[in-house]
């Protein structure tokens, strides 16, 4: 039997789902948010690497709830936990690092300004930066962002300062600035979704250094679990229903979405009817939910009569290098090196867009500089090496002691990830998760330009690190992808034959169905996209609230 109907049922409580819940609740609509994971409180977040980073506190085990992944349509799928983000209230925003960049105007007009790319399905967005900008302001205010606006040749336009002043930096940041300027690059401070001062009842950052892959025990990190969700609950109109695994979105005889069928905390199937259904479970999992929601009206999956749900999957191009500075050697020249300050907060966007095709690509991305993550098990397993190159015994112990005497500065790249015809999400009905639901199958077929571009970014980053004269410089990757940043599987656009959603993220084929995670984005942009997903969700909520008030 179906539960009592509500105005809006939202599936997912992360960067996309939470802002919708807040704005709809504020407008007086009754909202239920279904979240597959637990509702952790800040007391549940402790500095335990095994719990947070190495077991299933956040991410499911690959044999319980696999994502099938292959790197070519000719390969066999492998069962992995790739492309999961945290399964809990707040989703990926709970264990994010909180690098909060905005996109730039060029990201919305890549096709018309930079032209078509052979082998890539590049499209303009149906909105411009200017339409999203006010909602970037709003998202920054609601979530809480710390940063400094500095004049910068590559800066995107913005009207307001950040709501909070920048976090304290390590002294190395000044050295990094000197190195960048020597090379005529333009270092800029990285804004963070971490509050530098008490803000809206939340405590300021305690500088514990464990942001990424941890939940924040003082609510200083601006995950939706710490900011938007409590505000949504406070409206009195929003119910968060944790441990509720959505199975399908059902449609009525007219082809409108009518309810979400989900398994509750006891594994019992429930049906939640709603006037409007909002899907926001990450680009991979939202595609999976729609593809699993088959009916006579939508035999290939909900809103998928044009066959585009799950296509055009884009991650973020990843490259990484590390510079080691030995503490003992620099005791006199850099006495501050062993300072515990966790934040470096520097980025380079000099290669976000290239003026010509001389290096084989036009659209690049961002270099973000940071200390390596302090997780000691993660570091030690890497130090031990693998396969024949692995070491043990005295050699391993000496390397661990060397690590103790080291500060390791790294950069990672957030590069454009070109959409290719092969990179997509499907469902594999022969492989089911522990709930008995067919799992997502991900095929990644990278565009060669991505690798060229990432290598270029990595080489520029290494120039900067080299200028700081490190004791060791190590290149880790030029061909990676950051799968926690995922987009594109329900691309938005004005043409229903080439997109799944309209410009307000409403499905072309289903008039009361919205998708508000990264799925809508035709391109990844050259930055981490959490803030953009939140801003867009505020934008979509704005139009949805107005349309619901009109009674549509």
């Amino acid at each position: 039997m179906a539960l009592a109907p509500v105005d809006v049922c939202i599936v997912g409580s992360g960067a996309g789902g939470a802002p919708m819940a807040l704005q709809l609740g504020r407008a007086g609509f009754k909202v239920v948010v279904l979240e597959k994971g637990a509702h952790y409180r800040k007391e549940d977040f402790v500095h335990d690497e095994i719990l947070n980073s190495r077991r299933n506190f956040f991410m499911p085990l690959p044999w319980d709830e696999p994502h099938l992944v292959r790197y070519s349509a000719n390969d066999k799928y492998r069962r992995t936990n790739t492309a999961w983000t945290a399964n809990c209230v707040g989703g990926g925003t709970v264990h994010m690092s909180g690098y909060f960049y905005r996109l730039k105007p060029i990201d919305f007009r890549m096709r018309s300004e930079l032209g078509a790319v052979p082998g890539a399905n590049v499209a303009d967005w149906p909105i411009r930066y200017e339409e999203l900008a006010p909602f970037y302001d709003l998202a920054e205010e609601e979530l809480g962002v710390s940063g400094a606006v500095v004049p910068h040749p590559f800066a995107e336009p913005r009207k307001k300062p950040y709501p909070l002043p920048p976090l304290d930096e390590h002294p190395i940041s000044k050295e990094l600035d000197i190195a960048c300027r020597k090379l005529r690059y333009h270092p800029l401070p990285t804004a963070r979704g971490i509050i530098s001062q008490a803000y809206r009842g939340r405590a300021a950052c305690a500088y514990c250094a464990l942001c990424g892959s941890y939940g924040c025990e003082v609510d200083a990190k601006s995950g939706t679990n710490s900011s938007v969700i409590p505000a949504a609950i406070a409206t009195g109109n929003v119910e968060i229903r944790p441990r509720s695994m959505a199975q399908s979105v059902e449609v009525d005889s007219q082809g409108k979405a009518k309810s979400v069928v989900y398994l509750d905390a006891n594994g019992v199937a429930q049906e939640q009817p709603a006037k409007v259904i909002v899907v926001s479970c990450t680009a991979v999992e939202s595609a999976r939910l729609l593809l699993n929601s088959t009916s006579s009206r939508f035999p290939k999956g909900l809103a998928n009569n044009n066959g585009l749900v799950g296509k055009n999957l884009v991650f973020s191009s990843f490259g990484e290098s590390r510079a080691t500075f030995r503490i003992a050697k620099r005791r006199e020249s850099w006495p501050w090196l062993s300072d515990r300050a966790p934040f470096v907060q520097r980025s380079l966007q000099d290669f976000y867009v290239m003026p010509d095709n001389r290096h084989g690509f036009r659209k690049g991305g961002t270099l973000g500089f940071m200390w390596t993550h302090p997780n000691p098990i993660f570091a030690a397993v890497r130090i031990a090496g693998s396969g024949k190159a692995a070491v043990f015994g005295k050699e391993l112990k000496d390397r661990l002691r060397e690590y103790r005497d080291s500060k390791i500065l790294q950069f990672e790249t957030y590069g454009e990830f070109l959409p290719t015809p092969g990179t997509q999400v499907t469902v594999d009905s022969s492989v089911k998760d522990k709930y008995g639901i067919p799992v997502a199958a991900i095929t990644v077929e990278r565009h060669p330009i991505d690798f060229k571009m990432t290598k270029f970014l990595v080489e520029r980053g290494e120039e900067v690190l080299k200028a700081m004269e490190p004791d060791k410089l190590e290149r880790l990757s030029t061909e990676g992808e950051t799968t926690i940043l995922q987009h594109g599987t329900c691309r938005f656009g004005n043409d229903p034959s080439t997109s799944v959603l309209d410009k307000n993220c409403r499905a072309h084929e289903v008039s009361n169905l919205y998708v508000v995670d990264g799925s809508f984005m035709p391109s990844s942009g050259g930055v981490p996209t959490t803030l953009t997903i939140a801003a867009n969700s505020f934008r979509v909520a704005d139009s949805l609230v107005r349309s619901m008030k009109r009674g549509n």
Binding site: V46, Y403, E479
Partner: protein, 208 residues
């Protein structure tokens, strides 16, 4: 075929990164598991009381525990700084193998212990716990250098990962005694509250 080779390398790098990011990740289903050691099975089936119920340990028999301790001791030996045994790493491994999340890993790891012992017996006519440190290093090196995907290589990889977890994890899991592991690598970020029990916390929320 330089192109094909490059592709294969790229894939293996990806797999490697994945396994670093989450112990127990995709790799579990990529590498074939160690072959079940029929001798061990027979032994535990024919004399379950003697082999297992008298063991003071949670997962491992006394023999297996001794072998694991001897192996961990060679991964991180004691020198001027404490070693894996000082940190109670064998205790950590024994406890961790009990957890439901590690069920699949346990089925790969435990047979590897007797494989290690068999190799030692074949090479030196003595069990792994009875041979010298140098001989233990020889046996471990053979496992380490075994072809990728073999049971031996997989066991060595798990041994490294478990030893690092036991050395550098939260002390409430049974290892990192007196925080000797953290002292070794210079990790001193603030810790969980004094009464914290990681194992309990993991399973408080782990059952979904």
């Amino acid at each position: 075929m330089p192109r094909a080779r490059q592709k294969a390398n790229r894939f293996s790098r990806r797999v490697f990164i994945q396994r670093l990011a989450f112990f127990g990740g995709g790799v579990v289903l990529i590498g074939p598991a160690c072959k079940r050691d029929s001798a061990l099975e027979t032994q535990s089936k024919s004399s379950p009381d003697a082999a297992l119920t008298t063991s003071p340990h949670r997962t491992l028999s006394s023999v297996e525990y001794t072998i694991v301790a001897a192996a961990c001791d060679r991964i991180i030996p004691r020198d001027e700084d404490p070693g894996a045994v000082d940190a109670n790493v064998p205790e950590y491994i024994d406890r961790m193998l009990q957890t439901p999340e590690m069920r699949k890993i346990k089925n790969e790891f435990v047979p590897g212990i007797s494989a290690l012992n068999r190799r030692s017996t074949r090479m030196f006519s003595k069990g792994f716990a009875e041979i010298t440190d140098a001989q233990r290093d020889d046996v471990l090196s053979i496992f380490k250098d075994s072809p990728a995907g073999s049971g031996e290589a997989r066991f060595f990889e798990l041994l490294i990962v478990f030893t690092m977890e036991g050395l550098l994890g939260d002390p409430s899991y049974g290892g990192n005694k007196d925080r000797v592991g953290w002292a070794l690598v210079g990790f001193d970020t603030s810790e969980p509250p004094p009464q914290y029990d990681g194992m309990k916390h993991l399973h408080l929320h782990g059952a979904r």
